[in-house]
């Protein structure tokens, strides 16, 4: 258990001066909230210090817009005004980058609204990210700059702008002529 705490401490230390809010949701996990602007820098540091490997990238769909006045706000940690404006009118996709080191898991949480869902790739730093990023792009409609814009998993004739892992997707029309 001490080992895990040391690993999580060292991950926290790594991100300290960047002013990134962190939490420890479980005894083996550290979550850090990043924004598109500092994502590359954070990942570069993780790679530079050889803190673990990229285990996978998870997408989460949050279809409900969120008012700034609402009492139980999810996105309290977001400070970017333009982003908050966006979130009041559109849903968002949360992207989780999971890095594993022994039993410890560091998760970078990145939130983008549907209307501004463009993020940089991290495949220049972790080449294994390409497959995860392609999956994320297809399934959630996140544009990732720097990776091939082609299908990895969905069929070639899959309709444009239909993202199956968004909550609004309930299957293509029966008979499926598209």
């Amino acid at each position: 258990m001490d080992d895990i705490q040391n690993l999580l401490d060292s991950a926290e230390e790594l991100l300290k001066d960047l002013g990134i809010p962190t939490t420890r949701p479980e005894d083996f996990r550290l979550d850090a909230s990043v924004v598109p602007a500092n994502l590359s820098e954070v990942v570069k540091r993780i790679k530079g210090s050889r803190w673990g490997y990229l285990s996978t990238i998870t997408g989460l769909d949050h279809p409900e817009p969120e008012s700034r006045e609402s009492k139980d706000r999810q996105w309290r940690h977001i400070q970017d005004e333009a982003m908050l404006d966006d979130l009041e009118t559109s849903g968002a996709v949360e992207i989780l980058y999971h890095f594993c080191n022994g039993a410890a898991v560091l998760t970078l949480r990145l939130l983008v609204s549907y209307s501004h869902a463009t993020i940089p790739t991290i495949s220049n730093l972790f080449s294994s990210a390409t497959l995860y990023e392609m999956e994320l792009a297809e399934m959630f409609g996140v544009r990732i700059q720097g990776i091939p814009e082609e299908h990895l998993l969905l069929p070639e004739d899959w309709p444009k702008n239909v993202y199956p892992l968004r909550k609004s997707f309930h299957g293509l029309k029966e008979s499926g002529k598209h």
Partner: protein, 394 residues
């Protein structure tokens, strides 16, 4: 995913999705300069079934069954990763006996998975007799699993809160007998992979991956361990009964195909030891404890060591009887990037063995049914597919 070395590629050899060597669908394009591979790309999804989406419309209980069906080889380990995660979210601790049975089935599964791979590898190498031998021997485990659970592949041993069946004296004797036979056979196979000249010709110094490469490419499981990277969750982050029944991590240093073969076969011996240990020291306890129908709000990550490497589950609940999101990352996916990088510079003829060297599993990395008929394509809904299944077996 691309890995191009030069722009003056001479020729592109497309392989798959249907190909004579690998029995699963994947499309690869290898650019070659003469016989030498200069670049590789992969296109997946031919067996994608949309299981992650499907889980969001089913209850926590139903999902144990659907997730177990992600893979027909390592089915149990999927259910294990899932149930451990759900039990953590629910705050439920299962009995030592249930944990031990879970672990026992997981190790039996590892043995049949490694034996299956070993047969496929022999087949790709052109040693079909060896393929027949290993698959015959593998039936020993399949019979044991059928005897324990009633099923050869999707044994459904895991329930939320424990396991479905107990193991009695007669079954313990049966497993012991089976393991004794397999251990003897494995000694013979080990001799083949380390001494047989023709086999070594296909594996020695082929597809060598350094420790550095394995770490940066994110290799997992036996593929990583063959390059000396110490990644085995049974040791790094023990779960189920592994804290009480520790396992030794098997690593090699060379990192070529031979090392990957050696690691897997050595792991078999370690699994045999652990299976015996578990059978001789089965703790007492209830088989199953109650898990609420609605799982409390929260999220967790559950990682377990599948036969092919780390299996990663992310689970999120909003307090209902259905999950908010389940993400599955199987070990084959990160291991692809190792192959795509390593094939560059090798002969085209070495490609099949290198593909097989990571023990790829397509049902793992693809998870829609799309039927193509000449000029039109039909997409079947889950309901239509289910009805088709019912009508078919009427």
């Amino acid at each position: 995913m691309k890995n191009q070395r030069s722009s003056d590629d001479k020729f592109i050899v497309p392989i798959g999705p249907q190909h004579p060597a690998l029995k699963e669908p994947g499309h690869f394009e290898f650019s070659v300069d003469g016989e030498i591979v200069t670049g590789a790309t992969v296109r997946l999804g031919y067996a994608h079934r949309g299981i992650e989406k499907a889980t969001e419309e089913r209850t926590w209980q139903q999902n144990a069954y659907i997730l177990e069906r992600i893979c027909g080889i390592c089915s149990h380990i999927h259910a294990t990763a899932y149930t451990i995660g759900v039990e953590r979210l629910a705050g439920v601790t299962i009995s030592p006996r249930a944990n031990a049975i879970r672990t026992l089935i997981a190790e039996l599964e590892r043995v049949h998975s490694h034996m299956l791979w070993w047969g496929v590898a022999a087949h790709e190498g052109g040693f079909d007799t060896l393929f027949m031998y290993t698959w015959r021997d593998r039936e020993t485990i399949m019979d044991i699993l059928e005897n324990l659970s009633g099923n050869r592949v999707n044994y459904s041993a895991n329930l939320l809160g424990g396991v479905k069946f107990d193991i009695d004296r007669k079954q313990i004797d049966l497993i012991h007998k089976g393991i004794d036979f397999l251990e003897e056979r494995t000694h013979y196979y080990f001799k083949v992979i380390t001494t047989d000249e023709t086999f070594l010709g296909r594996t020695e110094n082929i597809g060598t991956m350094t420790k550095e490469q394995a770490e940066t490419l994110g290799a997992l499981g036996p593929t990583a361990r063959a390059s000396g990277v110490e990644r085995d969750l049974r040791v790094n982050a023990p779960y189920a009964a592994y804290p009480d029944f520790p396992i030794k991590m098997i690593t090699e240093t060379v990192g070529d195909l031979k090392a990957r073969f050696v690691v897997r076969l050595k792991e078999l011996f370690e699994s045999y030891r652990l299976i015996r240990d578990l059978l001789d020291n089965l703790p007492d306890g209830e088989l199953v404890v109650r898990v609420p129908r609605r799982i409390p709000e929260g999220e967790t990550i559950s990682r377990v060591e599948a036969p092919r490497g780390e299996l990663f589950y992310y689970l999120a609940s909003k307090g209902s009887d259905k999950p908010e999101r389940i993400k599955v990352r199987t070990p084959t996916l990160p291991n692809w990037s190792t192959v795509l990088s390593l094939v560059v510079g090798h002969k085209l003829a070495d490609v099949p063995m290198m593909l097989v060297g990571i023990d790829p599993c397509f049902s793992c990395n693809d998870r829609m049914i799309s039927l193509k008929r000449r000029d039109s394509s039909d997409i079947w809904t889950w309901e239509k597919l289910r009805q088709y299944g019912i009508d078919y077996y009427k």
